[in-house]
Amino acid sequence: MSRRDRLTPWILALDLALAPLAAAQQDDAQQEDLDLEELLEVEIEVATGFPQPLSLAPAVASVITAADIEEMGATHLDEVLETVPGLHVGLAKGRGLDPVYAIRGIQSSLSSQVLILVNGVPITQLQNGGAILGFQLPVASIARVEVIRGPGSAIYGADAFAGVINVITKTAADVSGSEVGLAAGSFDNANVWFTYGGLKKGWDVFFSADWRRTDGDHGRVVERDQQSALDEVLGTDASLAPGPLATFYEMLDVHFGLARGPWTLHLWGWDKDRGLGAGVAQILDPAGENDSSQLLADLVYRRDDLAESWVFTERWSYLAIDQKNDFRIFPPGAVVPIAADGSVSFEPGVPANLVLFPDGVIGRPGEKENHLSFDSVAAFDGYADHRWRLNAGLVLQDISTDEQKNFGPGVIDGTQLVVDGTLTDVTGTDFVFLEDNERDHYYFSLQDEWSISGAWQLTAGVRYDRFSDFGGTFNPRAALVWSGRHDLTAKLLYGSAFRAPSFGQLFAINNPAGLGNPKLDPEEIDTLELVFDYHPVLGLRTAVNLFTYRIDGLIDLVPDPDATSATAQNVNDQRGHGFELELEWERGDTFRLDSNFAWQRSEDEVTGARIAEVAGRQLYFGAFWRPRRGVHLFAQAHWIADRHRAPDDLRPPLDDYLLVNLGIRRGRVGRRWDFSFIARNVFDEIGREPSDSGIPDDFPLAGRAVFAEIRFHVR
């Protein structure tokens, strides 16, 4: 309930008291009211501050709306996120080149340090942390994307560590009628989508479906892979390098929304089959595939009329994840050292026999997860200048795994010198990569927004999370916001956050190179931020965000003493600092400029070595021009620079790269049709994202690509 609502009883009381007076004055008031001509002469005081409360939010936040997304010609979420200051979308090394969301120099291979929410519900999978393998989200269903850089665990709990990405899907209010779209372009890319929004018998109904496929860019060729080196040592000829990265995929994304009165239901179904990029072991695997699917059902009940000054929001959600994989870890014809326990072992000192795999070393690990959660929020603003938020929730999660393979413990023992492609099912045995498991988790949080005076606001909050496997964690935050001038806001923010160890890190077995450790603690971060948001004149916004953070207990694999295995441990500490500059300028609706620059320096707390492979500097520049009705032009440039190698990686530093995108859209032809044409990486720049040294020359990004799109609107 707003302040105004709270005042209503007072206003009513006053109105009643003054009613006779007011009635007597009403006619006069009507007459003395300014007419149109006079109103046009009234001098107007222009507030240069943007109307959205974003600049007042107790966090460093960016919001990208469906209108912004359409303007920049983005077709999926990663293209949208790349425009956020200090956020870079990189590539995961071992898992099909999944997107890696690096924020302010903090990244992990599956973005497990960034919390991804869909309509406020976490979609973090248990096995690896981070979103589902192959995660990619088409934009047709997206109403807006809210990105918080910095810690969010005091509100969102686990994994809101480097930042939070919350995707809000459309409802019937965002779409009127139906729209069909068709797009096609480079790399045999094809895309069909449909959206519908409307009122049906008092129900808000929204539906969207998006299907797309691509062969991927066959020009993304790597000259050598890990197998090339093995071939040289062992005299084999198994490597498929030089060869392209496997970036083909086919994806279906379906959303359904239904709302009436206090009830809102969202259903989201997603399925993707895709190639494995550079393979799981830095060895090209063009035949391998990952097939992931997930279903999210989310029911919300919200009431603001049950008690004066209270708003209650109850949410039930269910997330089902299914991941199937078919890996050729080593290609057909590979000769691999196999230790006595059947595992692949390159460790010196471990007795191993060289075994020929004429059909390749094949693994098919799969997993299914169920996440059931209940979340309850009560907001109360009935006491003076405070607004309280009380939150509690319960999450029940389980994972079941399955695995077939032609190698490893329980399958072979290194005595057979030739092993064919016959697979052994180790599901439910002691030899599976991860046993079936469960995690229960509950939490409480409390937050107070205190309007100390007109210009000062203090937000303080704390959240306690208790996990059945690794214990409890307590995360506070505080934000002091000053908005004493209409054109300037300043914020001082502190927060702590944690990342929950994934099941792989806690419980992985039968892989000597990466054993789980049930004694792991969560990774922890403390962050301090100072923010200035300044609107010097109408249409111009500038912002400076300064940050410093310190991370304790980053999890990494550590060689075990007196053994040849490696186990996950809380070993690394990281510190970092930096800044982001933001500049947005718009001239009416005709021209808009959106640009930002981010600089960060992060290093290992103990060794002082720069954190490898994260961008030290990045620049985004977007210009959007509407020269005449229905014609939209845009140009975007992304510059990624200053990426270091790990101390033990002797390759030359990564080259900086600049990608430029151009687009034109002709909208509302005959009021029904939209046409657009978009060119990405127009200068065919060979940008590269870091690989492990198994693929020495890094992962090339897609070359120049063009796409054409047609949309048809029906009311």
């Binding site: 007072w10 007011a22 008031a29 003395e32 149109l36 046009l40 107007i44 359409e70 009127s176 609706d589």
Partner: protein
């Protein structure tokens, strides 16, 4: 600032400031943009004639609807409180759906909806509705009146508006000649 705003809102709702300030308004103190625009929006009701078919019934109110993110806040509610247009009481609504907006007499299309305003305007064009908007391309997209602010030669920021006579005519609305005299620009 919020508290001062609420106090002001309270005083305004009591009709205390209304009676006391017209002279001051026209003179010195600049007013917040959306307070002025709310009053201008209200005053459009007196400069346009709606057919009887525009209303749900003889007792139906004269309804101004804000479609999309509301830039007015409470200003529009305060500007309309207790007002009448002819015999009809004036009301403000904030419809979430286009279907609901089709029952309004004036629809203010928020600038936040500019990426789909052509579709919104197309969805209202067969109804006797005065559409008012602020985006640069509002008239070109088929809107009725575009409301804007700009600096005059003395460097003072004031409101002005443009009228799309064709759109009004096609909607079955009749603009009074005074409206066209006051318009900064007329599209026929």
């Amino acid at each position: 600032m919020l508290r001062a705003g609420a106090t002001l809102a309270m005083l305004l709702s009591c009709g205390l400031i209304h009676a006391a300030t017209p002279a001051a308004q026209a003179d010195a103190t600049p007013q917040p943009e959306y307070r002025v625009k709310a009053k201008i929006l209200r005053s459009f009701a007196s400069y346009v004639e709606w057919p009887e078919s525009a209303y749900g019934g003889p007792d139906a109110p004269f309804t101004i609807c804000i479609f999309g993110a509301d830039p007015f806040g409470t200003e529009i509610d305060e500007a309309m409180a207790g007002r009448r247009n002819g015999e009809r009481p004036m009301a403000v609504r904030r419809p979430r759906h286009l279907e609901e907006a089709r029952e309004c007499q004036i629809v203010f299309v928020s600038r936040a909806e500019r990426h789909r305003q052509a579709a919104i305007l197309a969805g209202l064009e067969d109804r006797p509705i005065l559409t008012v908007g602020e985006s640069d391309w509002f008239i070109q997209d088929g809107g009725g009146i575009r409301l804007a602010i700009g600096r005059n030669r003395e460097g003072k920021t004031k409101a002005h508006f443009e009228v799309n006579v064709k759109a009004l005519r096609e909607a079955g609305l009749e603009a009074r000649s005074r409206l066209l005299i006051l318009a900064a620009k007329i599209y026929r």
